[in-house]
Amino acid sequence: MNALARSPGADPFASRLPVTLITGFLGSGKTTLLRRLLAHPGMRNAAVVINEYGDVPLDHELVAASSEQMTLLSNGCLCCTLRTDLQETLRELFVKRRAGEVIDFDRVFVETTGLADPIPVLHTLQTDGLLGAQYRLNGVVTVVDAVNGMRTLDAQPEAVKQAAVADRIVVSKTDLAPPAAVERLTERLRAMNGYAQLATAVQGEVDPAWLANIAPARASAAEEELERWLPRAAAARRAAGESGALTGALRSVGGTHDAGIDSFCLWFDRPFTWERLNAALQTLAALRGPDLLRMKGIVHVAGEPAPLVIQGAQHVFHPPVALAAGQRTDPRSRIVFIVRDIPRASIESLFAAVCSL
């Protein structure tokens, strides 16, 4: 018997509260983004976890009441500072929610410190069984500042990592940087992480839905919803209408800056077996875990009635989650890899070898 098992028929997506990680280097505009986001009426039941009340405070008009660690914003949002660790904070939030001591928030935004490596935060949700029963990862949003972003990416490996693992990249302060510089930065980010959707923002102004609805929110998610989380083609390909030549050109642009970081999608026409999928992923994690920055996929496994959502970062993988049977989805499996210094061909050969055995 599994204490955390859900009843048959439970929706493993809809029954968990979505957690969105907002990351970005110091001064990139994370708080400004959050402030604009929380002012949106659709976000009135959001909880935000911030590390500290920073230089750019959440609007005074938004702050209605506060206790030592928790602040209720006047639009209904809940804001709390990170306690000793994120695990404890998220657990406490859920316990207080159930006790009716805080609003029954319907989503959580976690703002990391500028210097944070986001991957351990992803691991928190993956490895803590109690948290995993109540929360699910919606996605990673990385804010990159158009004015200083290039320099930061050159000088700070953590900033590169933040952009590399993102599901959404917001290029901020585009009104303060020359258009050519914004374009160069955008190209560099796309080359590094072509599977993240990218938008530019002035004063944190982005479409809240674009940030709030990243991962599938229900097992019966249609292909369009899956596409929001796992695009079928990289941004550069999409922009160029699948022109391989242009992708190559962009990749060389990116390569000059961020040699080693690469993102690509592998497609598999035939369903996996559990054994082969596990063997391939475990081998990859065992041999190159630290360089497997992010992996996410929608895979078909023989004998399973519906495709499964898989994701992981470095050596830690989420348990696979089944989509609802009967949905119209691509019959092929696809897995996006964001890696450091691992040639695409190596991973292709690994899967080919394992699948041929």
Binding site: A3, S7, P8, D11, S15, A64, A65
Partner: protein, 420 residues
């Protein structure tokens, strides 16, 4: 956005004007034309024209029962609402099989009428047609409190009877089986009462609970399922949980009796078997306001040996500090009873129950030793709520996982979507 400082972070849970939810979303609320005080009878008809009709018994006069078309759960439509003959009777309970509905009647005083049940033909839901009345009135009878009717042949019920004189006035309603195979002529098929609760039955009367909790040794829910047609699972109020052998309906025999009050505070309400898992889910009913009869719980009972019932867990209670003084009753009550009928949700893993002011809650019992709360919805206090809080009384879950729940006093019907 204007600043609206509040003094403290006093939780919204303690504020009865705030709804609380987890994994349940409100699709619709129907005030039932202002008569939103609902009892503990909810049943779904799949009408021949394809509509799903939810039938609900009222808690008290003047209304008898109300039917709502819930084919589209987000847009419930009133179909019919009927009147009771007078103000000193209540229907409280009903069940539906096909196009036949059985409605209970319980009077405020013994000797009054109607005290029994009605059988209706509801093939035209807008025009329920009375088929027969089964009279259980008598000098010591208030009639029927709860009916169980799922096979179209027998009504199992908690009722008084014309010939039954209890040793204590609180012990008037006992288990009875009524044969309705000829709906024009319902006939008693059998009965069982807790020994000692009928005058001169030869057994010593049971030791009563502390007067502040004594609500009687009488039957409440009397469930019989096709998996075990030879068993009746009976909540016997202050007497605890009872399993009866009804292989011979004319002579029910006691199989097991689990009495847990005292030390607890009485009112065993529902005994829900989870066949195949050897478990019973047993719910209490809270009957006092302001937490005065706390704790009222839902129990998980190991029934692998049905003659030796062993409690192994209780459902995690909603937080006492949040709800005990939120207004009105706070504690367990009705469960969705896995009705063996086509429109009903059936699960031996997920149990849904009402908790009065703590709303409706769903529990994952896949691990019987450690039930988990996985969903809840607590409506904000309905307008004019006499206790100042919602008092969710009963729940029905359909095969689409739509949860229907009703307020005991004024709030009417809430339709919820469950994502667990």
């Amino acid at each position: 956005m204007s600043p609206t400082p509040t003094a403290t972070l006093a939780g919204p849970g303690a504020r009865a004007d705030r709804a609380l939810s987890l994994n349940m979303k409100l699709l619709a609320h129907h005030s039932l034309e202002g008569f939103g005080g609902m009892g503990e009878g909810m049943a779904m008809q799949q009408a021949k024209d394809g509509r799903r009709i939810l039938w609900m018994a009222h808690e008290a006069a003047p209304k008898n029962f109300t039917a709502v078309d819930v084919t589209e759960p987000g847009a419930p439509k009133l179909v019919v609402q009927t009147e009771l003959p007078h103000a000193k009777v209540r229907s409280n309970s009903l069940d539906v099989v096909g196009d036949t509905m059985v409605v209970a009647y319980q009077t405020q005083s013994v000797g009054d009428r109607p005290a029994g049940f009605d059988i209706f033909d509801i093939s035209t839901p807008e025009k329920p047609k009375l088929v027969a009345h089964f009279d259980r009135s008598g000098p010591h009878s208030r009639g029927v409190h709860a009916v169980w009717f799922v096979d179209g042949e027998y009504v199992h019920m908690a009722s008084g009877a014309p010939d039954f004189e209890p040793t204590h006035p609180n012990d008037d309603q006992f288990y009875q089986v009524v044969d309705v195979r000829n709906p024009l002529k319902p006939a008693e098929a059998g009965r069982w009462w807790l020994p000692g609760t009928r005058i001169d039955d030869g057994a010593p009367p049971p030791t009563r609970l502390d007067p502040k909790f004594d609500v009687g040794f009488r039957a409440h829910n009397t469930n019989v399922f096709p998996e075990r047609p030879d068993r009746a699972y009976v909540g016997y109020i202050d007497g605890g949980a009872v399993i009866l052998d009804i292989a011979d309906k004319s002579k029910p025999k006691l199989v097991a009796h689990w009495r847990y009050s005292p030390p607890f505070n009485g009112f065993c309400h529902t005994v829900l078997p989870l066949f195949g898992r050897g478990l019973l889910i047993v719910s209490d009913e809270c009957v006092q306001d302001d937490g005065r009869d706390w704790p009222k719980m839902v129990w998980v009972v190991d029934a692998r040996d049905e003659t030796n019932l062993v409690p192994v867990a209780t459902f995690p209670s909603p937080p006492h500090a949040t709800f005990a003084h939120r207004g009105g009753r706070f504690g367990a009550h009705n469960l969705h009873e896995n009705l063996p009928l086509p429109a009903s949700f059936r699960s031996d893993q997920l149990i849904v129950g009402t908790w009065f002011n703590a709303g409706v809650r769903a529990y994952d019992v896949s691990n019987p030793f450690q039930p988990q709360e996985v969903a809840y919805y607590v409506p904000a206090a309905p307008a004019m709520a006499p206790t100042g809080a919602v008092q969710l009384n009963d729940v029905y879950v359909d095969d689409r996982r739509i949860v229907y729940t009703v307020d005991r006093h004024v709030g009417g019907l809430y339709v919820l979507e469950m994502s667990v």
